[in-house]
Each structure stands twice: as structure tokens, then as C-alpha cells.
Amino acid sequence: MIHAVKYHPTLELLEQYIEASLAPQVSLAIAAHLDLCPHCQRMKMDLEAEAGAALLSLPEAQTAETDWQQMLDFITAQPEVAVKAEQRQPFTLHIQNSEILLPASLKPLLQTKLKWFNLGGISTAKLAGEDQHNVSLLYIRKDSEVPQHTHLGLEITLVLKGKIYDESGCYGEGDLLINTPDHTHTPRTKSEDCLCLSVLTAPLKFKKGLTRLLNPLQHLFY
């Protein structure tokens, strides 16, 4: 069933995504959202088209003609490689006694058996993590409440299945939520189980005074 996605990444976040400037784990959450959201798929293509047009109009950077020629000769001496266009299909995974359809972006992270940790109505399984950038699945049984928790960085949640509620609304399949540390909220489920992708990012570092001035929300991160 297609659920109309209500919560999207901002256009600015998509712009950073399409130029690969976000932390890879954040990009993963965006990529999985794109799998579920035709609206943002189109925005991605539009932004890439604009970035391509900008590339066409960039002034040339100087390099010695001989260096270019050398690079050109090297490249054209390389053999063609066999390539075929990729297909992008969602896939199913057996999670907590049910078959769940998941976005294709998550597939590379789900090649090994998941290790679930259970706590009350909530189970988590870590998919990837490094530098405190944690990617995990969160399975919340119906009528459960996620205990209040703190984190120093951002918390990104993508709803993959079911619905989750908090003080400000109801989030369904495909909805992407980004919470800063000072958003205290108590997400809970009602009559159905809910599966989410959760990305926790490292505390943000602001090294320079200038960055502080440029970013009015910076104080949120201390």
C-alpha cells in the first residue's frame, strides 16, 4: 500500500545529499527515504540536473596541456567494462515473526543475520556504526512507549512499517524525522507494531567561531 509521505528532508538537506556532503549514515537515511518517496525522487533528479548545468558553466581550471594529454592517453588505453543498468527493487526480510518489505538502500547492510536486543516492547539491531554514527533498526511492539533518551548528536528516524506517534503528530511509512538533542519527545505506538530505521549521529563539532556565527541553531548542540 502506498502511504502518502508527509515528512520529507528539506530541500537544503537534499542539496547536500546529492553532492555527497553529508555523513554517509545520514545519506543512507535519505536514500532509504527516497526509495519510499516519489516526490523526493523527482527532487533529487531535478537537483542533479541543476548541478550538472552548473558544471557545464564552470570556468576551466588550468592544467598543463601535456598533463591532460597524458591523462587522456591513459584513459583511452583502458578496456571497456561490462556494465548493465541496475534495477532497484524493495526486498523482504523476516523480522520479529513477520515478513517486512524494506527499501532497496538497506539491502547491503542486511546481508548478515541480525542480532536483536530486546528491552520491554522494543527491540534493536545494529546495522552499521562507526565514529558514533550508529545505524540500527528499531522494532516497537504495539502499545509501547520509547523511553526518554538523550543523545548528543542528531537522531534521524525513518518509519519503515506501521505508525508511530509523538506529541507533535503521527508518522507513517516513509516519513523522515530529524530530532536535535533538545527535542524531548516520547514516541509511542498504538494499535500496530512499528519498524523504524534509526540513525544517531556523533555530537557536532564546531571548530571555528565563524561557523558558530553562520549557524543560528548551533547552540542546540551543546
Binding site: 528532508p9 554517509p24 550538472g52 558544471l55 581550471a61 591532460w68 567494462v81 556494465v83 553562520l214
Partner: protein
């Protein structure tokens, strides 16, 4: 609403994002020429077509790389890997999906991502090809609507209209104020029809965000 600029960057550097919007008003050279070149390369490994494409794109990719990496060596590595991909994978280019310049940009972006990843010596469980999917998504029911067009009639949009990037504003003015068809605007501004449509979508999204923003 969260300020997305506060999300930690992959490359951990402060650089100026390329001024995509600002440069849009300059008319890019004919993309059709490069589409044709890619077709020749895919069909016959046409070195002459490739060498023309190389002369045009390599120095521009280098400028892009300098902006993104801030150093010559990595910029040149990005150029070489990108242009090598263009040579070896020209068959993957599909003109029905987008312009030649769009395709080349996405390759450069993926090369850049994988370079940063390699520098941090990460396992490649998160690779550019997975994170930046470039093929067709499975068909889904359209969830888009033109309801936002109606907002343009509302006064609350007006103050944000002026803040649109110039290229998007030009298109929007012609379509919504002068009531021209997309085709007419395409001919008048000498830009492809697809570009007219995509600028309208981007502008509508920008306006929608501006209106949604509680600070405004």
C-alpha cells in the same frame, strides 16, 4: 524546523557550496552535442568524440574538484576517475533520463564519495552506487499534486517569491504571472522543456518550505 546545514558533513571541511543557483542564469553550451558524443563512445569507443568531450569536461571537473576538495591532487584524482568511468561506462548513459552534464555530475559525485570513504579507510558497506541510485525506481502511484499551485494566488507567497534563485524566478514569473505555457517559456528562454518543468518544481518546493517555516 532543523537547519540542515547543522548536520555533520561527510568531509568535515568548511567549504563554500558551489553556487548552483547563481550560475544557472548563464546558458550552458549545447548538451545535445555531448549526448551525441556519449552515444558514439558507447557504440564504437569513438576516441575522437571522447577526446572532444574530455577537453570540455576535464578542466571543468577540475574546477569542481578544487571547490569540493580544496586541493589539486585530489581534484585531479577525481577528474581522472570520473573521466575513466565516462569512457568505460558510456553505455549506461541514458538520454531519456537526463542530460549528459547531469550524468557526468553524478559520476563525479560518486567518485568523490568513494574517495572520501577510502581516505577514512572504511569498509565499503556504504558505497556511492547504493547511496546515490541512478536508475529507475519501481513505479509508484503518483502522490504529487498541484495543490501548491493554488498557494501562488495567496498573498503569503509574494514575499518569498523575490527570494527565489533568479533562474527559477524567471520561469515562475513567465508561467504564473504572464500565464505562458511551459513550451512557450522553453522557447523564449532557450532552455529545454524538462528544465522549465524542473525549475518550477524546485521553486514550488522552495516556496512550500518558506511558508511552512514557522520562523517566517
Amino acid at each position: 524546523m532543523l537547519d540542515p546545514t547543522s548536520v555533520q558533513r561527510h568531509d568535515d571541511r568548511n567549504y563554500q557550496r558551489p553556487d548552483i543557483q547563481g550560475s544557472m542564469s548563464i546558458q550552458p553550451p549545447d548538451n545535445a552535442q555531448w549526448e551525441q558524443a556519449l552515444t558514439f563512445i558507447a557504440a564504437d569507443r569513438d576516441k575522437k568524440a571522447y577526446s572532444q568531450l574530455f577537453s570540455y569536461f576535464a578542466p571543468r571537473l577540475k574546477a569542481f574538484g578544487l571547490k569540493m576538495f580544496g586541493n589539486e591532487q585530489q581534484a585531479m584524482e577525481m577528474v581522472q576517475d570520473t573521466m575513466l568511468n565516462v569512457w568505460q561506462k558510456a553505455r549506461l548513459f541514458d538520454a531519456s533520463r537526463g542530460c549528459a552534464s547531469t550524468w557526468i555530475f553524478t559520476i563525479a559525485r560518486n567518485v568523490r564519495f568513494d574517495m572520501l570513504r577510502k581516505k577514512q579507510s572504511r569498509k565499503d558497506e556504504l558505497s556511492a552506487d547504493d547511496l546515490f541510485f541512478d536508475g529507475d525506481y519501481p513505479e509508484q502511484e503518483g502522490t504529487d499534486s498541484n495543490e501548491w499551485d493554488l498557494w501562488l494566488l495567496a498573498e503569503k507567497v509574494a514575499p518569498h517569491f523575490a527570494k527565489l534563485p533568479p533562474a527559477q524566478r524567471d520561469v515562475m514569473e513567465k508561467v504564473y504571472l504572464e500565464e505562458k505555457s511551459h513550451q512557450e517559456v522553453s522557447e523564449e528562454l532557450a532552455i529545454p522543456l524538462g528544465t522549465v518543468k524542473s525549475r518550477i518544481r524546485l521553486a514550488l518546493d522552495r516556496l512550500r518550505e518558506a511558508i511552512d517555516d514557522p520562523r517566517s
